[in-house]
């Protein structure tokens, strides 16, 4: 367990002597201890880990950003820009003692003709990066190891959906973790899909 920032962790507007903002670090721990939620908007999809209420609020924010952009500029928001806007919003909540940081990480994925597939992740500190593959939550290290074994650039969406499901099963600890429900979602050329857990078993058995 990493150090506790006694005295320096009471608000997000305080640095510790070694330059850390403990409130933000605590927020990132909230991500690890909670489950995922999938939301869909247009041809952008979100996966979230962390406090559900924070996640819902943030997804509403990102919907507004996308909607305002469309209304002002006449075309759909590029994913990089949306990720930047969400990240800026999340970052703002790390600056003041009157509010607490968001306790959730956000993965955004989209597909469009011009840019192809795109993947961005925003964490509670307000950083956003683009990825070929990323993982958030308790087992993220193990999941990242598995992801690195994949040759993503040479695989199709269909193949990757199976791989992702496999990874979730691999990293799930039967002893320590409680029973889980797998929800899968993917967005590709021309469409997007969400698969709820009741259909997962059938889907996976027929695909394997």
């Amino acid at each position: 367990m990493s150090s506790i920032g006694t005295g320096y962790d009471l608000s997000a507007s305080t640095f510790s002597p070694d330059g850390r903002v403990f409130q933000v670090e605590y927020a990132m721990k909230a991500v690890e201890n909670s489950r995922s939620l999938f939301c869909v908007f247009g041809v952008t999809e979100y996966a979230v880990a962390g406090l559900l209420a924070d996640a819902r609020s943030l997804s509403e924010v990102s919907r507004e950003e996308a909607s305002n952009f469309r209304s002002n500029y006449g075309h759909d928001i590029p994913l990089k820009h949306l990720a930047d806007r969400v990240a800026m919003y999340v970052h703002a909540y790390t600056l003041y003692s009157a509010v607490r940081p968001f306790g959730c990480s956000f993965i955004l994925g989209s597909y469009d003709e011009d840019d192809g597939p795109q993947l961005y992740m925003v964490d509670p500190s307000g950083i956003s990066h683009g990825y070929w593959g990323c993982a958030i939550g308790k087992a993220k290290q193990a999941a990242k190891t598995e992801i690195e074994k994949l040759q993503m650039k040479e695989m199709t969406c269909r193949e990757l959906v199976k791989e992702v499901a496999k990874i979730i099963y691999i990293v799930h600890d039967e002893v320590k973790d409680k029973a889980f429900e797998l929800e899968l979602s993917w967005v590709g050329e021309g469409n997007y899909w969400i698969l709820y857990s009741t259909s997962i078993t059938t889907f996976l058995w027929t695909s394997f």
Binding site: N72, Y73, G74, H75, P78, K80, H81, D114
Partner: protein, 219 residues
Amino acid sequence: SLQFGTPRSVFITSLIPVGTSIMAVEFEGGVVIGADSRTTTGAYIANRVTDKLTPIHERIFCCRSGSAADTQAIADAVTYQLGFHSIELDEAPLVQTAASLFREMCYRYREELMAGIIVAGWDPRRGGQVYTVPVGGMMTRQPVSVGGSGSSYIYGYVDSNYRAGMSKEECLKFTAEALTLAMERDGSSGGVVRLAVVSEQGVERQVILGNQLPKFSTV
């Protein structure tokens, strides 16, 4: 009633789209835009060498017709917004974005404004595009578009002579001839023909002086 141009203090007393012939044509790799150069206050030609082709961004232009004050103010506002947007995105802006910004403003303030604008340019994603934003604030993409009071006289010429897939040189000739015909018949249009080619390579501007304009038979 004042039509168009660079003089600072301008008034509108006329409610009709006025004193201009403007045109834009798409071709493979870019757009050709053109305009006449006459500004009138009543019967007096206030500026006979006006430049009605206004840059909004590096590879996006607009052709302005209607009230000089209104179109200048709108173009300034859109230039600012588009520049800001382009820096935020860290990318060259889309022509469609510029046209949407024009449309937003022209529609929102449609009761106060008198502006007929053609937005044309080149962007890396969709190539050469022409969008027209006439009085009232609608916006639509067209492969060729004409505007201003002189445009009424050349719809027939444009409709019968336009072909898809023309080269840059053919578009230049087509535009110059169409504008010349408009200037011949419309009293509020005249002077020189200003042309510009906007493409991936950048912007090339040219002027065709009065005595060099294409000749058509006169009765």
